[in-house]
Each structure stands twice: as C-alpha cells, then as structure tokens.
C-alpha cells in the first residue's frame, strides 16, 4: 500500500522529468548506433608504394586487396609516405627487399606486413615450381629414356567452418551483446542512484522517516518505480539493437530481455545503495569510474582466460561478468535458457544481497 504510493510518486516524477527520461531511453540507442557504424565499417584498404619490384610480385600484391602504387624513382621512403599518404613502401634494392611501414595504426601495419609476406612467398613458390619444371625438362632432354615421374604437389583444398558466427562475423557482433547489457546497466544505475540521492539531499527521505513507512517499503517502492522504467528501457534497447541495427541474435530474444532485466535490477539496487555513500550528484558521479567502468573490462570484451589469477577472482564479483557472458552466449552462440540459468541465478543473488544491504543502509535515517 505504502509501496504503491511511492511507486506512483516515482512514476509521476520520472514522467515529468522529460530530459532524464530521454537520457534513459534514447542515449543508449545513440551510442549503440555510433559504435555499430564505427566498428563494423570496413577498414579502408592499405596503400602500398612499390619501387623496383618485379612485375610478378606487383601482380600478386594487387590480388591481396592492397592499393599498389608504383614509383619509378627512388626517393626516401619516409618522404614518400608522408607526401603520398601511404601505409608502407616496398623497395627492391638488388636482391634485398626493404619494407617501410608507417605504423601509425599498428593493426593496419601488421595486416600490410602479412599481406606483403604472403605475396612474396607466393611469388617464390611459383618461381620454384617453374624452376623445377625447367629442371625436369632439362633432365628429360639429356636422358630421354629415363622415365621421370615428378608428382606435382597439389595445394590441399581448405574449407573453413565456424562453430559460432560465420565468415562475415565482425568484432561488433561479439561486442554488441556486452554493450547492450552494459548500457542498460549504466543508465539504470545512474538514474536510480541520483533519484534516491535527490531524496536524501532535499531532506524528503528524512521526512519520510517521520511517517509510519517501513524501510523495506522505501527500497521496494524505489525498486518497482524505477524498475518499471528500466523494463521499458531494456525492451527498447534490445529491440533496437536486434531489429534496427540487426545485431546478430541467434538465441531467443526473450532470453536476452531476461538477462538485461536481471542486469537492470542489479544496477538499480547498486545505484540506490551507493547513493547512501554520496552527498551530492557530483559524488555520485565519482562512483562511475570505481564501480561501473571496471565492469566493462570483466564483461567479456577482454579475454577472461588471459587475465592474471587475482583478476579472475575479482571478475567473479562483477555483475557484468555474468551478464556479459550470458548475453554473448545467447546472442552470439545461440545458447538456451538452460545454459544461462547459472548466470541468471548469480545476478538474482546480487540483487537479493543489495536489497538487504539497502534496507540496512537506511538505518542511517531511522533505526526501526
């Protein structure tokens, strides 16, 4: 009854505050859209300047999706790279091949280097084959009677199959489930935390304590009030990500919503809990680098197995670790509810602990 009064009030306040509502509902969509186009856009083809290389090598390089620009005169590579905006220069000086890489974008430089090496080895292999053929021909001419059987080694055909995703899969497909969960987590944390903080700083929470309301009524009132908006936000974000941005979703949409709701619940409770330790909105913001940002690192963006042991232990205390894993499992790997139930239970466990802690934290305002 009192909880309902509180829920009603939170809803009226939220609906009146159009800006906050917009932040909660629209901001995650904007960020997801930006990231989607940033990450999944094709990297532009590396530009390679070539000087004095053989025709065969140049042909091979052109086949490697490189933009090959030939230069007749040999200038200093550094100058050339700057003037012509190249990613690298390949020079032939006698038998020596010199590759100069710009390396302003290390991943691009690595890619270019690999492609050049591949091209060179292909050219070498071809030459080797031709040489061998000539050699065989020579021998055949010199000893016409000797039967010469040379088995041409065939390149084995290789077909690639994928357990998760396909050849078209980009980094964003693996990253986006985590991002969807993280933005739900972040915005729910921020808004519920500041919501209760405002109640603390304006003295209304103190005032509430002079009424017969119970501490748990307050926690549940906030939980349900902000929870309603968190549910709407979660549904909007998930639908937008999967239907509009067309993020890979192999498993069930409902499972995705379920995980996000669990995450939102934890974020909401964490937000109102931490607001107990902040005296102003500014201090609430200070919790973001401490309590929220580290969650991203453990959410599955960075490989968990590569972490030092102690960090693997830390990860187990991060709600986003479970949320991120479950989301990747469902959206990218297509797992079902049964495979993610452990993660869901852990998230609900977090929520339960936070509920109890919140009720205890309100003792600061009234002992009973």
């Amino acid at each position: 009854m009192r909880t309902i009064a509180l829920v009603k009030r939170v809803c009226i306040q939220m609906v009146r505050d159009k800006r906050t509502l917009a932040l909660m509902m629209v901001a995650p969509l904007v960020i997801l859209t930006l990231l989607h186009f940033l990450i999944s856009s094709d990297p532009n083809t590396p530009r390679l300047g070539v000087n004095g290389a053989e025709e065969s090598l140049i042909d091979e390089l052109k086949e490697k999706e490189l933009k090959v620009i030939q230069f007749d005169q040999l200038k200093s590579p550094n100058q050339l790279i700057k003037v012509k905006d190249l990613d690298g220069v390949l020079q032939m000086e006698g038998d020596q091949l010199n590759l100069t890489l710009t390396n302003d974008d290390p991943s691009k430089a690595k890619l270019l280097q690999t492609k050049v090496m591949q091209a060179i080895s292909t050219v070498n292999a071809k030459e080797q084959a031709t040489n061998l053929a000539h050699f065989v021909e020579d021998i055949a001419q010199q000893q016409p009677n000797a039967p010469i059987n040379l088995n041409q080694i065939k390149m084995p055909e290789m077909s690639t199959s994928y357990i998760y995703g396909n050849s078209e899969t980009t980094f964003f497909d693996q990253l986006s489930p985590i991002l969807v969960g993280f933005f739900v987590f972040f915005f729910v944390f921020l808004i519920s935390g500041i919501g209760l903080l405002r109640e603390r700083t304006t003295g209304t929470l103190d005032r509430l304590m002079a009424t017969p309301i119970q501490r748990k009524d307050i926690v549940f009132g906030y939980l349900i009030g902000y929870g309603l908006f968190a549910i709407i936000q979660t549904i909007i974000v998930v639908f937008y990500a999967t239907k509009v941005l067309d993020i890979m979703l192999i498993g069930s949409l409902w499972n995705v919503i379920l995980i996000n709701l669990a995450l939102a619940l934890v974020a909401l409770l964490l937000g109102i809990l931490l607001s107990a330790f902040a005296n102003s909105e500014f201090q609430m913001m200070q919790f973001i680098p401490i309590a929220i940002v580290p969650q991203v690192f453990f959410a599955g963006i960075l490989p968990f197995e590569g972490m030092p042991d102690w960090m693997q232990i830390v990860a187990k205390f991060m709600p986003m670790y479970y949320g991120g894993n479950a989301l990747v499992d469902v959206m990218y790997k297509g797992f079902g509810l049964n495979d993610i139930k452990n993660e869901l239970f852990v998230l609900l466990g977090f929520a339960l602990i936070f509920i109890v802690l919140n009720i205890v934290a309100l003792k600061k305002y009234r002992k009973i």
């Binding site: 009854m1 009192r2 309902i4 009064a5 009603k8 009030r9 009226i12 306040q13 009146r16 505050d17 304006t202 003295g203 209304t204 103190d206 005032r207 509430l208 304590m209 002079a210 009424t211 017969p212 309301i213 119970q214 305002y365 009234r366 002992k367 009973i368």
Partner: protein, 246 residues
C-alpha cells in the same frame, strides 16, 4: 493529567560533542509546549529524538506511554521539519496526496483531509501548481498542511512560522490554539519570544541543556521580569556565571 511526551535523562552526543545533556521533559496532554532557544542549542536534535528519527545516546523517550522509536506511534504524530522537505517537481495536491497515502487513510477521508489542510494554510487555489513555483512562505504552509494531513494526536512543529508573514502567522497560531482545544498536544520550537508567550509550558534550551522551565508567567515571576526575552537573557547569563565559577 497523564503526560503525553516524557523524556527521562536524555543525552545525545555526536562523536565527542555532547549535543544534549540529561534532558528531562514532561508534556501533558492537551498542552502547547514551547521549546525556546537560539539556533544550535539542540532543539532540532531533541525534536528528532522525540519523533524517533534519531536515537538518544542514553536515556528514554516515551510518547503516549509507548517507548520511542515505534512505527505505529508515528501514525499519531504530525511532524513539520525545520527545512521544507517537499517534492518540488510535484504539485501541492500531489505532495499532500502522497503523504496522505503513507498514513493509510481511506479515500474519502484522504480527500476530506487534503481539502481541510489546504484550506487551513490558504493554499487551496495553488494546489495544482508545482511546488517548484511556490514562494518560501507557501512551502512552509504546505509543510504544515502535510503535518496535519492525518489528523494526528500530537503535533511536533520545528520552527513552523519562520518565513511566514505576520498575518498568516496569526492564523496559524489561531489554528494551533484551536487544535489544542480539540485535545491535541502540541510541541513547538521557536526563537520568537512573543510566540513563546502563547505556550502553556516552556522549556528554555541552551547548549543542550534546559536552563529553565515552567509556564510563561512562572518564568517571568521567577526572574522578576516582564518580558520573556529578558528571562531568556538572564537565565542564559546565570548559566554563564555558573560556568565561570565551576
């Protein structure tokens, strides 16, 4: 007469600072009891302890023969805080309705009480405005209306007339006197001496101690002075002298 509010040897300290020192207060039913004292003397802390929002370090508080803090007891206490604690983004009506529902009033009673309380503090025409647009005095009045919303047996008002114009102050005091005639007990803190004059019983608080108490007339005759203001200064001065001696 039975005492409605009783404090026995109540002390409160925050860290090393003693805010209240062995306070004994007895408020009889149907009285207007005034706590007077300068800012920082511990009045608000005392009031919060009586409501149950704060706990005394030592000592006991009983309200309506019930040990404080007690949730059920809060149903019978109307509290007006010193600082207006209102929801600025809600209208006056919504503020009243919200607090009314915390006291579990039936729908009809709730409606009736909101109309009554708003009318009393002359806010009826402004009820649909957001509190954000209220003046300081209007906010004070809304706070008072909220304290009265559930028709409490005991009213605890922490400086209720600060920032209210003289006319309205008069009407608020008329209402306080009327509430008293209904048999309600009212505990009020103030530092305005002419308000103290209207109380049945007074307790003067200074540095967390009650330096003097009794009816206004008793106090005046005790110190042989005509105005309470002088009583207050004199009582305070006496204490200073005592301090110097000890």
């Amino acid at each position: 007469m039975t005492s409605t509010i009783e404090l026995i040897q109540v002390s409160k300290s925050f860290g090393k600072k003693n805010v209240l020192k062995a306070i004994n207060i007895k408020v009889d039913a149907g009285q207007i009891f005034g706590l007077i004292g300068p800012s920082g003397s511990g009045k608000t802390t005392l009031v919060k302890i009586i409501v149950g929002m704060d706990q005394p370090s030592t000592g006991q508080v009983q309200v309506l023969n019930t040990q404080v803090p007690n949730l059920k007891l809060l149903q019978s206490i109307g509290y007006m805080a010193q600082a207006d604690a209102l929801y600025n983004d809600l209208t006056g009506q919504e503020n009243l309705a919200f607090f009314a529902s915390l006291y579990k009033l039936s729908k009809e009673v709730k409606k009736e009480r909101i109309a009554y309380a708003a009318n009393l503090v002359e806010l009826t025409p402004h009820l649909s405005k957001k509190v954000l647009n209220y003046s300081g005095g209007m906010k004070r009045r809304l706070s008072l209306a909220i304290a009265l919303i559930h028709d409490p047996q005991i009213l605890i008002l922490d400086e209720p007339t600060v920032g209210i114009d003289p006319e309205l102050r008069k009407s608020i005091w008329a209402e306080i006197v009327r509430l008293k005639s209904e048999g309600k007990t009212i505990l009020i803190t103030t530092h305005v001496m002419d308000e103290a004059e209207k109380c049945d019983q007074l307790a003067m608080v200074r540095d967390g101690e009650i330096i003097s108490n009794g009816s206004p007339a008793t106090l005046k005759s005790h110190y042989n002075i005509n105005s309470l203001e002088e009583v207050f200064l004199k009582a305070g001065g006496e204490k200073d002298e005592n301090n110097r001696i000890s």
